[in-house]
Amino acid sequence: MADLGSVVAMANLRYVVAGYAVTVVALGGYVGSLFARARRARRRAAAIAAKTRAASTP
């Protein structure tokens, strides 16, 4: 049977794993969201510019 010390150590390790997972998800998620925003803005800017060009062409 596992002693109390190792049970507590294993339980504590779960908090460490959760903490590092939170860090990776938060930083990675934010970087991902910035790339998505950049992609969306690029597409919209290109679409508006194309529309403006088409409207100004006789």
């Binding site: 908090y15 903490g19 939170v22 790339f35 925003r37 800017a45 510019a49």
Partner: protein, 256 residues
Amino acid sequence: MARMTARRGERVLGVLTLAALAASAIMSLVVAPPDAEQGDVQRLMYVHVPSAWLAYLAFTVVFVSSIAYLRTKKIRWDRLAAASAEIGVLFTAMAIALGSLWGKPVWGTWWTWDPRLTTTAILLLIYVGYLAVRKLPDSPARRARWAAVVGIVGFADVPIVHLSVTWWRSLHQGPTIRLLGAPTIAPVMLAALLTAVFAFTLAYAYLLTLRLRVGRLEERVVAEALSPRLGQPVEQLMDQSPEPGARAAAGEAARG
């Protein structure tokens, strides 16, 4: 002109950041020993402390940029403040979440109304409010001015958060690294902590570069839509100060 794709410098910074974060993970999870009293759970310090440090740094950048914007009315300061505030909110939320994960096994609770925790929660609310002010449907000039005022006034909470552990009786531990006096942790733990602070600072620099580029791209969408209606080139619209006075002065300078 707003860059459509990442510059080489941004990519290099991204790779350096990833390498530094990997080195930090090895230092804090493998090289640094477990704490004599807390055991392995103390390893959360290597992500919690740098997150809090980066929140301070990000809000200091907001404070300085806001003062610079109010003095010069240059749009680039407003952009920098907006970008840094968003990243600061991310790091503050991370510091609170990681502190909570550390607090549960050590203090026996996820949250307590301790001075450090409470002032940090207020800090998060202040800068979430700052981001909300930036979304107000108002004139760009007034919005930028209000945001700058909130960025300056809100910064008053940063020293309060930092000094709360010495001003009041707190459950939260005191500073690990002091400007004056020896650090309170073992040298190998200090090395792991400094590596983590360095890696997170690089991450902040990379996120700021990326967020500034995204901000420019989003402004370009608005400028592309307004350009034909106002009869002004897109680049000129993007670099214009939102302040009517500064715009008139720029127009005068261009004519004169």
